[in-house]
Symmetry: none
Subunit: 227 residues, 4 copies
């Protein structure tokens, strides 16, 4: 109600190295705990237990539960974006960029299985931080796509919509085959995704746009069932 005059963030930044270490321990513990239990089910006590500090220590470095969470999400997003941009730095074509980006993302998801749980929780916990997460990704994506379009590497289309298509696609594949551990191996899924990304789903790209309509449509043989 009041908490009035007291400055909001009394002492957030530790000045001594000891304090810095402690803060980091708490932050990392928070990432683990939020990932395992989700925001609501994770208690501050869980976090400090995991960090091996006293309960009160948490409040020396963070004003409340929400703050650590937001910091965890922002930091996680920044880490992933940095990793991806490093991974695609040497790519020559846009397709290569997509494949490398996807691969890096999958690998990150595999190594940080909490990513989904944490980011998705953000939707309810602090929508601003949730949007920020995707906005920042999209921003990077859009500028890369625009460059590729200018270079004639990618067909002209709304780059933001395209970016969200690609992000959604990655997200769901990661969920299904990295998180839920589908059989079939990642590389295979990666191939499929790239195939989709490259051609789209039209069977006859050459006469693209033929889309649905008639057309003698070469029978192209029975190519038996997949599974």
């Amino acid at each position: 109600m009041n908490r009035s005059s007291t400055s909001p963030a009394e002492r957030l930044v530790p000045v001594t190295p000891r304090g810095q270490r402690t803060r980091l321990k708490v932050l990392q513990a928070a990432e683990r705990v939020f990932g395992e239990k989700g925001y609501e089910r994770a208690s501050i006590a869980d976090i400090t237990r995991e960090a091996e500090v006293a309960l009160g220590t948490f409040y020396v470095y963070f004003p409340d539960k929400l703050s650590v969470f937001v910091e965890v999400v922002d930091e996680l997003g920044a880490r992933l974006r940095r990793l991806i941009s490093e991974a695609v730095a040497g790519c020559e074509s846009r397709l290569e960029v997509e494949r490398e980006g996807l691969r890096t993302f999958f690998q990150f998801v595999g190594e940080n299985r909490n990513l989904y749980r944490i980011v998705r929780q953000a939707e309810f916990v602090d929508e601003a931080c949730y949007r920020r997460y995707y906005d920042r990704f999209a921003r990077g994506y859009v500028s890369g796509l625009e460059r590729a379009m200018d270079a004639g590497e990618v067909r002209r289309m709304d780059p933001e919509a395209l970016a969200y298509c690609l992000m959604g696609l990655s997200d769901f594949l990661g969920m299904r085959w990295v998180l839920w551990q589908g059989e079939g191996g990642l590389e295979h899924v990666l191939d499929t995704a790239m195939d989709f990304i490259r051609h789209g789903m039209d069977a006859h790209p050459a006469e693209a746009g033929s889309g649905n309509k008639k057309g003698p449509r070469k029978p192209r043989a029975p190519r038996s069932k997949t599974r």
Copy 2:
């Protein structure tokens, strides 16, 4: 021990019409409340207040909080799937199916803005119910795609991976342009998505596969079975 044959959670299904009405009121109230506040923040009291029944009444029809939630999620998924399958029933081509499905999904999201909040919460609340939600979607998707592949309408590729690509893409577009209300209008985004889905992002679909630069690239070869 005594109560002979009755299952542990007795009194779930109301017998009188009055009871049925009450149960439904509670269930619908739960959907609204979960959508607005999220699972954890929604209290049983919130739900019964919204349903305009007494607190105790809740436990007449549901054994616990989790149960209503699961029922809400399952019901929501079923509703959406039914709607989509009705919408695409008359479509002639697979592309038409995709467009109609997407459009229906967007419309549903617009009218049930809680959908995302509810479904995504499920990830932490009851993972089984969360997976079930996507599994069932995917199942329908896969069989539709396989049929289209058999008919030569869609290029052969792993249908489940493709299904998840398409679901992810829809999910993110819905989030971005229906939930967050981007400018540009839905139809435009729909067009972009369909464009992407149709051609893929290759600038020169005619010589598809050229991907990056030149190279005659083996003429499409046997591309063996997917798993």
Copy 3:
């Protein structure tokens, strides 16, 4: 921070007699506990323990600690005012009113030794409720005094200032001789107070108004410095 949409006072008023009894038990326990320990030192647990109900029961009837406190203060003030006005109902002169009022007040203080602790705490806990307490007293006092002035029973002067003089005087006497239990007995103090109230402190009321100024004023020696 949020508590947003939920109505503030979910269920304050009990509908069943059982609930009414419980609420009253809690309210009375709160009065005792606040009186003994003061607002800040009194915990909700203290109150419910005293009331012999479970901790959570408190929150069934009161939204928070502050609310009970305010209710206790208001109720206490109302009780005292009612008592006093009943006590002076039959008085014939204003002086009699004063004496009876004072006596009733002292008696009340003796029987409700928490009164001071509770009311004075209010100054820090909820200033509005503190002022309200004295305002209401003063209001009654003022109208009584005005009537007495109109009747020529009391010398004309600012009635509100006079009311506060009399209230302050009562308050401090009650504190010193009822609460702190001075020797000399209450009646004696009452007499002194009434003597003061009646004549004022001037030794020679006959030549009242001589105030300080001149005046033959029996030389009565050098009247040395006061402290």
Copy 4:
């Protein structure tokens, strides 16, 4: 055990000038903070922040929170008593003493609006220190009044009771017209108070004691309006 002769609360009195300055800064900060937030709501951190020293520094000069508070109260009382006794030093009559004392008190209250909050909190925090505050005031008052009674300036009555009457009266007037800022101006209230103090509230002090009853009641002229 070891530290030989040092009293339990060592390190209370600073030896260096620097230490003395620091101690004073903390003490004054404490007065401000206690005045603004009250004892319980004021934290040591608030005090040290206000004093612009580190948290630990507090415990260099004070053994605990209670100690500073008591020192603040005692010091405040001493300051006020000193001020008043200086102000009335030159007064010739007891009435003049009263008027000057009251005026000085009001002025002090206006300049130290925390006075009430601090002193009254003392009632719950440390009753001894609270009583001491009023006892000391009363002591000085009593001896002054006794002298005035001996000199025939003031009618004989229980001097301690009279002292508490006058203190209560001052206290409430100060609260109402200095703290709560009534209209009408201080001087006017001062006049009313002095009028009351001088004559008492009997309309016909000359025949004092007639109290209520009839009696020819000397018309005593137009008794002009007070406001």
